[in-house]
């Protein structure tokens, strides 16, 4: 296995970037549907993606480098060496949110409503990210000791060169990233199901679908994170961030997204 999918003129094209590019094409089709459901203009979604791609790459790289500053403080210019890897999904989400704010302030639309419009695309990208963690074997569970052919449980074979440091003697690991992918796909389907009635304005206030969906995704990440392979005890940074995001989204849903009692302005 290698990280390079193809080469073009000697330059490597990476699996990860290729998959993200294809994912963005699919993710762009989803707002085509959701803007139609919400009766909103698709060109705004296109503009958000157009701003979101460069901002997402930039913010994901900066956040990754900030979270791992000890690696970059000695050689700051290595921050620019994107091809050496190191991108934070949370940074990409921040980039997308900034893009939404830019387009929203220019076009003067409701940010909360557009969070709902983009919610299916966002949860799709979250599920894709989980899938890439499985395919690239970046996320594995605990090692499985010499599984027998009679054992019905799943186990993931990790190539020798990609085994986590200290675990080179183990071939099979629990496929926690696969389970996470399945759960994230369920969150994506839940978002689609919520979008259908919500686009007719029947369930929540603006932002309700988005906050609920992202809270569900964050809880999945937190729960699955407990089973990631790790030699350290306690909560890890990714779990803490997922828990914080879940709490924030639940709080925002309760403050903004929950359907209030019908008042005179209705």
């Amino acid at each position: 296995m290698g990280l390079v999918a193809f080469t073009f003129g000697g330059a490597p094209l990476y699996f990860y970037g290729t998959a993200v590019a294809f994912g963005l094409i699919v993710a762009m089709l989803i707002p085509w549907w959701s803007t139609w459901m919400y009766d909103e203009p698709f060109p705004y979604a296109f503009d958000i993606f157009l701003w979101g791609i460069p901002l997402g790459i930039l913010m994901s790289r900066l956040l990754y480098c900030a979270l791992h500053y000890e690696r970059y403080v000695a050689a700051p210019l290595s921050v620019l060496r994107f091809w050496e890897g190191g991108f934070s999904f949370y940074g990409a989400a921040i980039g997308l949110f900034v893009a939404l704010m830019i387009v929203g302030s220019r076009e003067d639309f409701s940010i909360l409503r557009w969070l709902d419009v983009l919610a299916p695309a966002v949860t799709f990208m979250i599920a894709l990210y989980a899938f890439l963690g499985f395919i690239l074997q970046i996320v594995v569970g605990n090692p499985v000791l010499m599984p027998s052919v009679d054992d019905p449980s799943l186990a993931e074979y990790v190539e020798y060169g990609y085994r986590p440091p200290g675990f080179e003697g183990y071939e099979y690991f629990q496929p926690i990233a696969l389970y996470q992918t399945i759960l994230m796909c369920a969150v994506f389907l839940l978002t689609i199901m919520l979008t259908v009635p919500e686009s007719h304005g029947t369930m929540f206030e603006n932002g309700g679908v988005f906050f609920l969906s992202v809270a569900a995704a964050a809880l999945v990440r937190f729960g699955c994170g407990r089973f990631y392979l790790s030699t350290a005890s306690g909560l890890h940074r990714g779990e803490i961030m997922a828990a914080v995001i879940a709490l924030i989204c639940v709080a925002m849903f309760l403050k903004h997204g929950r359907r209030r009692r019908r008042g005179l302005w209705k």
């Binding site: 990476y14 060109p43 091809w83 449980s153 074979y157 099979y172």
Partner: protein, 280 residues
């Protein structure tokens, strides 16, 4: 109260679409991995050259999946010859990855498991025709001992002496080594190696795991028995990230369109490799 956006919006311009496509084309070059590659073991951006190890069994007209027709085999070898693939041996692979020797462009290895007599009758002449070398992993108790359909020691010696075929071990009885005790495994590995070395006067360096079953303990016994490497039936390319005692191979089967299947397997190895990861 819900706020909806204004009705009139300018359509998406062609320039924006082009910019979007350019950004998408940029991503595969930039996004290498979510985690930092420079500090991770084995995660070189490119793990050096990839070696394709083709795995055959029978080359005849039996019309079973393990039996590639001679004309299909000839077509596959012609494709490899015409498209600049360079045939190497398992020893060349070992020297490249363990001793840093250089490899030619587009290296590949041809292997045959079990030592069927059609390897001598059909595969051997075709390999000679294209100037390729192959490796046959023989089950030593099957040769010249009443088992129909397998090469003889005489044929093995002839092919070995010609330089076209290299004879290596597929153990004594082809038993699955995960079902055997350590003593039985040592017998399978050591005695098959000794038998081939005595009869053919050559050093045996590689083994192919029967039925592809192995584990790291068995791999350690293979190393202890004096082998330089071992082949599995795990699907994939071989590169520096591979374990020399668990070398991946590409199985080639007879199908409804054998040649197309062969081309697909060659071209989409990285994708099929990932699909083979899950063990259930």
């Amino acid at each position: 109260m819900k706020i909806t956006s204004p009705r009139f919006v300018e359509p998406i311009s062609a320039a924006k679409i082009v910019l979007f496509l350019v950004l998408l084309l940029f991503l595969p070059f930039v996004l290498s991995s979510p985690s930092d590659l420079s500090s991770a073991k084995g995660l070189d951006a490119v793990n050096g050259p990839k070696i394709i190890v083709l795995n055959y069994h029978k080359i005849d007209n039996m019309n079973i999946s393990l039996s590639v027709r001679p004309d299909d085999f000839d077509k596959q070898m012609k494709y490899l010859k015409d498209n600049g693939f360079n045939c190497i041996t398992p020893h060349d692979l070992y020297e490249a990855f363990e001793e840093g020797a250089e490899l030619p462009e587009k290296p590949f290895i041809i292997t045959f498991d079990d030592g069927y007599d059609d390897n001598y009758k059909n595969a051997y002449p075709i390999l000679k025709k294209y100037g390729f070398k192959g490796t046959i992993f023989v089950i030593t108790s099957f040769l010249d001992r009443g088992q129909q359909g397998y090469i003889t020691w005489g044929q093995a010696a002839e092919m070995e002496a010609s330089g076209v075929m290299n004879i290596e071990s597929h153990t004594v009885t082809h038993g699955s080594m995960t079902e055997l005790s350590d003593a039985e495994i040592r017998h399978e590995l050591v005695d098959s190696k000794k038998d081939i070395e005595q009869r053919l006067g050559k050093k045996v360096e590689f083994v192919a795991y029967p039925t592809g079953t192995y584990n790291l303990h068995i791999a350690s016994l293979v190393r202890e028995a004096g082998y330089l490497g071992a082949f599995t039936i795990k699907y994939g390319n071989v590169d520096r990230a591979s374990n020399i005692y668990a070398i991946e191979r590409i199985p080639i089967f007879h199908t409804e369109d054998t040649y197309s299947s062969f081309l697909e397997r060659l071209q989409y190895i990285p994708i099929f490799e990932r699909l083979g990861w899950i063990k259930s």
